[in-house]
């Protein structure tokens, strides 16, 4: 959406300059609002015959010829429309949330000037022994450790860059996932819908390569087998990765 707006802005700037150079151009309602009639436009251009139009023309040609530079104020200039990446990190679980080593693949797709879709396929590898039992009220409970269980997840996130300096670009990320959660020693399996909220930083290290570091808070619900039923999911992750232009 804002991409279209920037393109429109560039077009308007171009037409504005064109109208300054050529007062007879049709879109007089766009920029020269103070000019009441076409006859008054020559006097407007007359007082600034040489210097202002020349400067305007050069700036316009700079912006039009280097349109990706418009993005550089809100997103890393080396971010392309599409990218791929991988990350590795740790995720803390506990109780009914799996935790352990998390390996993820990312697919990035540009949505707007500062937003990218971040599709994730992730695997969590934890350990741990059986930790589920029946309490005295005969409720089935699990009390897994921070790094127990396994999970496979696909998630759709949006990454928004916050503006950066040089090669360093912080971002926020939010999204929703769908995961299969498994605690093998307890024969407990569930389907989880975690919400992700976090942030990180992207650092360009080569023309087509960047490294990232990010933290995420994961909150959601999961439906488990046995009589465990619906259980909350709560975890946090920290990860580092690399991404490449496509």
């Amino acid at each position: 959406m804002s991409r279209r707006l920037s393109a429109l802005a560039i077009m308007l700037a171009a037409t504005g300059v064109a109208s300054a150079d050529e007062p007879a151009t049709p879109p007089t309602d766009a920029t020269p609002t103070p000019t009441p009639a076409p006859d008054t436009t020559p006097p407007v251009t007359a007082p600034t015959p040489t210097t202002p139009p020349a400067a305007a023309t050069t700036t316009t040609t700079e912006t039009t010829s280097a349109s990706p530079e418009v993005h550089s104020t809100v997103a890393p200039p080396d971010m392309s429309d599409q990218g791929m990446g991988a990350s590795v990190g740790i995720v803390t679980g506990g109780r009914d949330t799996p935790g352990g080593l998390k390996i993820a693949g990312h697919y990035l797709y540009q949505l707007s000037d500062q937003d990218w879709f971040d599709g994730v396929a992730a695997f969590t590898f934890g350990g741990g022994d059986a930790a589920c039992f029946r309490d005295r009220m005969d409720n089935f409970l699990c009390d897994h450790g921070l790094a127990d269980g396994n999970a496979v997840e696909v998630a759709a996130n949006v990454r928004r860059f916050l503006g950066g300096k040089g090669d360093f670009w912080p971002f926020l990320r939010a999204g929703v996932g769908l995961a299969i959660v498994r605690f093998g020693d307890d024969d407990v399996t569930g389907l989880a819908i975690p919400l992700h909220l976090g942030g990180g930083i992207r650092v360009s290290v080569a023309p087509a390569v960047a490294v990232t570091a990010h933290v995420d808070l994961e909150v959601g619900l999961a439906r488990f087998n046995h009589t465990l039923g619906l259980e909350p999911q709560l975890g946090a992750s920290i990860a580092a990765g690399a991404e490449f232009k496509l």
């Binding site: 059986a130 029946r134 009220m137 009390d143 909220l197 976090g198 933290v215 808070l217 909150v219 709560l234």
Partner: protein, 118 residues
């Protein structure tokens, strides 16, 4: 950086909230059971002595048991059981449990009060 700190703080708060829902008993000691596989080590199967079944661990002395349990003689072996002073102290284990005196295994005192059926 602030976001990371906030996330970790929220995480800690959330975990403690979830932890409040945890049970007094565990797979190690006190959970209901029918089979050994439901416990960390051993299930005292449902009976009048152990209504609903009782997960426990074998022991040689109190040092092998959780802090709120003692090592008692139980048939052919010694197991951990929750200590108590009065019957209401055993209500958390459900109907059928009361505070009764048993032989204290590996201790000079000789007797100890624990939660047990029968």
């Amino acid at each position: 950086m602030r976001i990371a700190i906030l996330a970790l703080a929220l995480m800690a708060g959330g975990q403690s909230l979830v932890a409040c829902q945890s049970s007094d008993v565990s797979r190690e000691l006190g959970a209901r059971c029918d089979l050994n596989s439901e416990c960390d080590e051993r299930c005292l199967t449902p009976s009048t002595d152990w209504p609903g079944g009782f997960c426990t661990i074998t022991c040689d002395s109190d040092a092998d048991c959780p802090s709120d349990a003692a090592c008692i003689n139980e048939e052919t072996s010694a197991v951990c059981a929750y200590t108590c002073f009065t019957d209401p102290g055993c209500q958390f284990l459900g109907a059928g449990y009361k505070c009764s005196e048993r032989d204290h295994h590996g201790a000079t005192a000789g007797k100890v009060f624990v939660c047990r059926g029968g």
